[in-house]
Subunit: 345 residues, 2 copies
Amino acid sequence: MTETKRTTEISELGEFGLIDLLTRDIELKNSSTVRGIGDDAAIIDYKNKQVVVSTDMLTEGVHFNLMYVPLKHLGYKSVVVNLSDIYAMNATPRQITVSIAISNKFSVEAIEELYSGIKLACETYGIDLVGGDTTSSLTGLVISVTVLGEADKNKIIYRSGAKPTDLLCVTGDLGGAYMGLQLLERENEVFKVNPKIQPEFIGYDYILGRQLKPEARKDFKEILNKLEVYPTSMIDISDGLSSEIMHICKASDTGCRLYEEKIPMDNQTKQMAEELNINPLVAALNGGEDYELLFTLPINDFDKIKNDFDITVIGHITEKSEGANLITTGGSEIPLQAQGWNPLE
Amino acid sequence: MTETKRTTEISELGEFGLIDLLTRDIELKNSSTVRGIGDDAAIIDYKNKQVVVSTDMLTEGVHFNLMYVPLKHLGYKSVVVNLSDIYAMNATPRQITVSIAISNKFSVEAIEELYSGIKLACETYGIDLVGGDTTSSLTGLVISVTVLGEADKNKIIYRSGAKPTDLLCVTGDLGGAYMGLQLLERENEVFKVNPKIQPEFIGYDYILGRQLKPEARKDFKEILNKLEVYPTSMIDISDGLSSEIMHICKASDTGCRLYEEKIPMDNQTKQMAEELNINPLVAALNGGEDYELLFTLPINDFDKIKNDFDITVIGHITEKSEGANLITTGGSEIPLQAQGWNPLE
């Protein structure tokens, strides 16, 4: 006997019923959250801190494909990508609002699954979900998250503080999320042709995790404190290294030199790139979604960071007149492109 | 010779080019806005005030129909509906973030038109646009706005403070936005059959304006100060009077009596309802989008407000055990429904 999982039409609950269901187990964790869900607006009290706010929107078919992204992972990721922006300011995220537009193809259980990922991210990062909007969409799923955080006025790190000779550094490794996506897309194509073939994910757990369950660098503030260094500029790597570097150079009115051979990449990233005949440099420069941090440090700080396995120096800042350039492994100098430099073009 | 208006494909500009174009003329108006667009997050400093935050999402085909809603009006309205939530807390909106998802059917000029409405609303209400996300959608247009405001801790008005015997009051008149929508839909149907027939809008400018260019009650704080009254609870009327009253009763743990004959309606609202054979009570109770304020006042304040033409007493709060009821013109007592009471059902 096969047990059928009961699904509930959203219309059975109505908008207010759905909101009640999704939000009834939310417990506020931050003392700055005066009032969460349940009124016209949430109320937050940061006392003498500054408020930091950022927002991101994810749309079905553009940012995610429900064929291979589980809803819980999607909920988790939609929160994390926003938190990453707050950490990139050296600030602490405290509250989020979540708006979702759903079509009637979703059941109540599916939306609960999405919310379970949202709540897990809130739990993991100590964030309060304080408001939002649950509305309908005639077509695909849309998720819009806004995150609020707090920061000491004199500790905020902008994109605009980089100076010539500063070291250009990144946390972690790059390109993994992009190669994870390529793998998911390949297996999805195989599945569409023959649903009986099991997907081949063995040995690629790291890059799959980078794509499906990225984490924001909550820990990096501590690392900076421990190393006693203070970045002159910082940005998170959401669109790919190339355009993030361009953002820092533009905001700081500088140029830079980026060394291909220095870009940190995991072995799985390189292996998958080889298997799919993709230049792994493309994954790192243009892939995006790694949610690592790109930052600049005064050159005198080099000794303090050189032994930290999590930080890699990938280049340095130059005068603006020198431009923003990539130095390839072969020694050629190629201008970086705002949309990312693509060696396949 | 016919002059063809030049339109620009969004792909000609790219994401960053589009953002630059849309945001280059934004001037910050509020001293609390430390940093607006251009970094990972915006930075806001409210000093010793509390932060009030609210968010709304509008989707094509559900909240608006581009067949008859001009993009500029849509942009304006998408901001105003959010501001309304902040005014309903007796707080002052200061900053917004705007995320939009657009399909490639939109030109750069169309998005500029949408933004011109967003900017006009910011201008009118003294709001700073401090961030957002511009992304693509495989299907329709989605607009998500988050508004931040400030409030004195002890001046915030919640939904939860209503007490039995309190007067139930509304500002302005109700049902106009709904009847304006019915009119637009009727004329759109006529247009689809014969595009040469001019739409008949004469004499209905008020209800059209209520639908297409609603305003939030920015002025109401001043009115309260002038009248020297202080609501015990307040909510904005976005979903229709019926469900807003239910929200207040639920949050305040009370019941209420609402008198049909007291509900303020404009003559154009009534006239259009008659023309379309719709009970105008439905428009007021369930129509929504009027963005007036519903609030409760201690009964002793009656003398202070009785001569204010903008405030109408429509009923009173009761003990919870008496339920939330509508007293019809005929004298019958009917329970209000969470989704609104519908006499046509």
